[in-house]
């Protein structure tokens, strides 16, 4: 048997030197005259172990990581092609605690094989959901998705099945499926990992959405900051088309569905669904007022399903294993699993898919292993740049849409950024306002003007100018932005700002006092 060596081609692994490792492995193979096949898989998401190299042995896969190019020679010397011991030896990848503790439904295949091998995809259960869907009536597919309890994973948490039902029930000669892959929130990379590591699951999910709602055309709108994801998705669509997964007869059925990959142009606000639709139409990415809902008048004025990558990528498993199977995971009204992305100043950073319900403390301390600097955790921002900062006192909050809302926070796209005790929360609050000012589409006044005034007011606070008055002004401004903005950019920027002020008041004391306290 020719040895198989798996070296991730995921951009997170590449950022940590996977390409140099691959080059070193190739050179070593040539020098030793060994014939082996190098497979560029996706990432399993344990980024603290990337680049994680795996070899297929008679006893299954054996992983090594994090591998540096300088480790490669000694790996060969240690007989790693047959699973030999080495200081980077990790054992069977699915036994690594960070991975073993997960419940992988959406990410079941991510990182295991060559993402562009349709055969590998099918060998691990791929396309079963779509096969079931083509044999069903659209209303039954929609019912399955509704019954599964799946809610929008982009952040809003709107029930996916209800959105689909609106599109199904709206009569039109043309309908669209739009996948929101404008994953701009800091601390999130789940969409990127799926697109780079298991692109066919997204294609399958979109085809199911098309059949369920009567839409025949799909678009994936990917941010330009993700060139690797764009390349992989383009290749995957081409392969799926050739294999008859996409086209006029999806899997040989009378259903037509095809799709295109589109690239954004660096505007964060285009992650907001109506602004994304405008951008796809070739307009400025300004937010539209709702109603009309995109489900009734969306892309080019036609009924449109617009869903996040993870929502759509979770559909195939629901259609394969059934609504009840999926719904069985989770808590309260948050059903199924959620890929939590643990990022920032954290020892074990990566993607952790699990049923809803873990507490924030379990995620940060037990799974994340605390900060990478070894200093105490000061704050954790949950849900990206529009999410609240949580202090340790709120670490008992369970990961659930409603529980986070009760504590004036949101889970958003499930990204978590850990900060150690060197973080200055006034600076973080200022950044939230600054980011909103940079990225505001300009359509509504609270967001466009409020964010700029917010930066100025926080600067006055930092300078110790009339602190009480300016603190009251920021609070009032946040109130206006929260209730007066047209979309989540202006409406949610108050979350990081107000949570910083509420939970870390000592960081907002006038400058002289802050210096004296240090």
């Amino acid at each position: 048997m020719i040895p198989r060596i798996y070296i991730p081609g995921d951009s997170g692994a590449l950022a940590l030197g996977a390409e140099k490792v691959a080059k070193a492995v190739r050179a070593e193979l040539a020098e030793r005259g060994i014939e082996a096949k190098i497979v560029r898989n996706g990432s399993r998401g344990a980024y603290f172990l990337e680049p994680m190299v795996e070899v297929a042995t008679e006893k299954g896969r054996v992983a090594y990581g994090p591998v540096k190019p300088s480790d490669v020679k000694s790996l060969f010397d240690s007989g790693f092609l047959t699973g030999g011991h080495h200081k980077r030896w990790l054992g069977a990848p699915d036994k690594i605690p960070f991975l073993a503790k997960q419940t992988r439904l959406t990410f079941a295949r991510c990182g295991i094989n060559d993402p562009l091998s349709l055969d590998a995809y099918k060998s691990l259960g791929g396309l079963k959901g779509l096969q079931n869907a083509v044999a069903m009536a659209p209303a039954d597919i929609v019912k399955q998705v509704t019954d599964s309890g799946l809610r929008g994973r982009g952040g809003a948490g709107f029930p996916t099945g209800i959105k689909w039902k609106t599109v199904l029930d709206t009569t039109s000669e043309r309908k669209y499926i739009v996948c929101n892959a404008d994953e701009g929130d800091s601390a999130t990379f789940a969409d990127r990992m799926i697109m780079e590591g298991d692109p066919f699951v997204l294609i399958e999910g979109m085809a199911i959405a098309g059949i369920a709602t009567g839409a025949t055309k799909g678009f994936v709108y990917i941010r330009s900051e993700y060139p690797h994801a764009v390349a992989t998705m383009n290749k995957a669509v081409e392969i799926a088309r050739k294999a008859g997964v996409l086209g006029v007869n999806v899997l040989g059925s009378p259903n037509a569905f095809d799709m295109e990959i589109r690239v954004g142009a660096g505007a964060y606000v285009c992650g907001e669904e109506t602004s994304l639709l405008n951008s796809l139409e070739g307009k400025r990415g300004v937010v539209r007022a709702k109603p009309p809902l995109p489900a009734i008048q969306g892309l080019f004025g036609k009924p449109t399903v617009i869903n996040n990558v993870i929502s759509l990528a979770s559909v195939p498993i629901i259609m394969d294993k059934g609504a009840a199977f999926y719904k069985d995971f989770g808590m309260g009204r948050s059903r199924g699993t959620i890929p939590i992305q643990i990022a920032g100043n954290v020892r074990n950073g990566g993607l952790f898919e699990t049923a809803f319900g873990l507490t924030l403390g379990e995620i940060v301390d037990d799974i994340g292993g605390g900060t990478s600097t070894g200093r105490p955790v000061k704050a954790v921002q949950v849900g990206g740049p529009l999410g609240a900062y949580f202090p340790r006192a709120l670490f008992d909050t369970p990961f659930d849409y409603e529980e986070f809302a009760k504590r004036d926070g949101l889970i958003g796209h499930a990204g978590i950024t850990v900060f150690d005790d060197t973080a200055d929360m006034l600076k973080q609050a200022r950044f939230a306002m600054e980011f909103c000012a940079i990225e505001s589409c300009g359509k509504c006044t609270p967001c466009r003007i409020g964010s700029t005034r917010g930066v100025e007011t926080i600067d006055r606070l930092a300078a110790g100018i009339e602190p009480e008055k300016n603190l009251a002004l920021v609070t009032d401004l946040c109130n206006t932005m929260k209730f007066g903005s047209l979309c989540a950019l202006g409406g949610f920027t108050p979350y990081p700002v107000m949570s910083s002020i509420t939970h870390f008041p000592e960081d907002f004391k006038p400058a002289p006092a802050r210096v004296a306290a240090e």
């Binding site: 951009s11 701009g184 055309k217 954004g264 142009a265 505007a267 070739g282 100043n345 950073g349």
Partner: protein, 159 residues
Amino acid sequence: MTMQPASTEIASRTAAIIQELKGLEGPLLPILHEIQEEFGHVPQAALPVIADGLNLSRAEVHGVVTFYHDFRARPAGRHVLKLCQAEACQSMGSDAVAAKIKQLLGIGFHETTRDGSVTLEPVYCLGLCACSPSAMLDGEVIGRLDDEKIDEILAEVRS
């Protein structure tokens, strides 16, 4: 600096791109990306040609081009270095990394070195948040930036 193509040449190359892509649904962004790929920026001379080709007003085209951070009015340096400045990278000291690189290159964000070797830009998230602080050099991703990696980057852009 690279020679700027004459406006007639810009017009003809732009017209060819429009011809190729105008059949797409919502063709303006793909066309602008292609133009930037072709010229390294979106030249002023291309705008009336696009407006004409897509039956839009020049103001509409101008509005779209200037809305998006990606589209450049002028060519960038030979290399483009993007430093992530979003929260996950902030938690790992991206401010200090940016300050160091700015000082070593003698430029700020949105500026190009006088020899035209490199343009420095902030970026708000590269999706490498478990490998912070991160950067992108000419489309290549770099994670866990430290002094050694900064030196490698600077050596590459200066070569």
